[in-house]
């Protein structure tokens, strides 16, 4: 037990706060929140250094190298997410260096799951032109059809994959 660890916000409070932040973001910027776009910029930047010819010649990442792929609003926003989550975790006594995941795996097994999940997520977010925050949440609020089609795929396959992996995770 650790008395200094504060509980999470209730889902209702967190949801109202998230909705308010999202609406304010629309007012200030004309678009919503996001996350995966910054990883796309980072991938283009990395490709530009590791394999410049292949990256410049790539139809998807190449055009991003015409400017600095990291100098975008979404990069600043992701830095902010890191800062905000760090602040919150420290303020609530929840910061702790650890490997989070199913207790039956060692760190190696957990990292393998995280890597596979990350590959799927990175690929899927590019396919859909956004992720859970950039598309489902930020498109869902203005009631975009795209967001709800994405959410159908997200929950159906997520539930199936959750069922298949339930013994690994529970």
């Amino acid at each position: 037990m650790n008395a200094s660890i504060r509980p999470f916000w209730s889902p209702l409070v967190a949801g109202v706060a998230l909705g308010a932040v999202l609406f304010a973001t629309f007012l200030f910027t004309g678009h919503g929140l996001g996350a995966s776009g910054s990883i796309t910029g980072a991938t283009a930047w990395l490709g530009g250094h590791v394999a410049p010819a292949a990256t410049r010649g790539n139809d998807y990442l190449g055009p991003m190298l015409n400017g600095n792929p990291l100098a975008t609003w979404i990069t600043w926003e992701l830095l902010g997410v890191l800062l905000g989550a760090l602040l919150s975790a420290f303020a609530a006594g929840r910061f702790r260096v650890r490997v989070d995941g199913p207790t039956r795996f060692g760190a190696g097994g957990r990292f393998a799951f995280a890597l596979v999940g990350g590959v799927l997520s990175g690929f899927g977010a590019r396919m859909a032109r956004g992720c859970t925050s950039g598309l489902a949440l930020s498109g869902g609020a203005p009631l975009a059809v795209a967001a709800f089609v994405f959410l159908i795929g997200f929950f159906i396959v997520g539930l199936l994959a959750g069922y298949v992996t339930r013994r690994a995770w529970a």
Partner: protein, 220 residues
Amino acid sequence: MSLPAFDNGVASGLLAGILFGYVLESAGFASARKLTAQFRLTDWSVFKVMITAIVVAGGALAIADTTGLMKLADIFIPTNYVWAMLIGGACVGAGMAIGGYCPGTSAAALASGRLDGFVFMGGMVIGTGAFAWLFDLLKPLYLGAAGPEAQTLPELLGISSAAILVAISLVGVAGFYLGSRLEKASGGALGAQTLDDDATRDEGKSPVIGGLNANQGSSL
């Protein structure tokens, strides 16, 4: 001043991100175990927080549009490409069930000290690279079955946005009720203390996890 302000500078990005990250961590969304529990139906926080945020922001946007404060036509609304959205959603959903996070929550995880969040982000770079590498092959799926530009549910269904927001709210109320019952049946939604206790218990099991925590202490 006309809205939206279209401020896409450094300060605007940092501020939006700080608030977003603060809320994500406060909701418990930095924890892979809590997030994946949604797909085992034992913790409904993902559904509850998302649908509440969509109704609150959606309601505010609808009021802003009606009153003329900020027109929906002036903000970014994604265009539907049916196959791309379904496949993309499926991959992000599978990625969360297997890897524990989605793109934004993996950043919140890393910032709260979770090393698996960092590995997930590394995986995303690989997945993004794979998409770019296969882009020419994927183009038919990526661009296929395109809907009208920036189409919304009210436009598609011919119903007012107020009616759709009420319908989404009803789904939310039903989800809160059903979810809370299922949470109770499985011992309750995962709390901060439980997750921390589990990390403490794990310290003896894995040399990597234990070694890190031996240096960190549990009261940080």
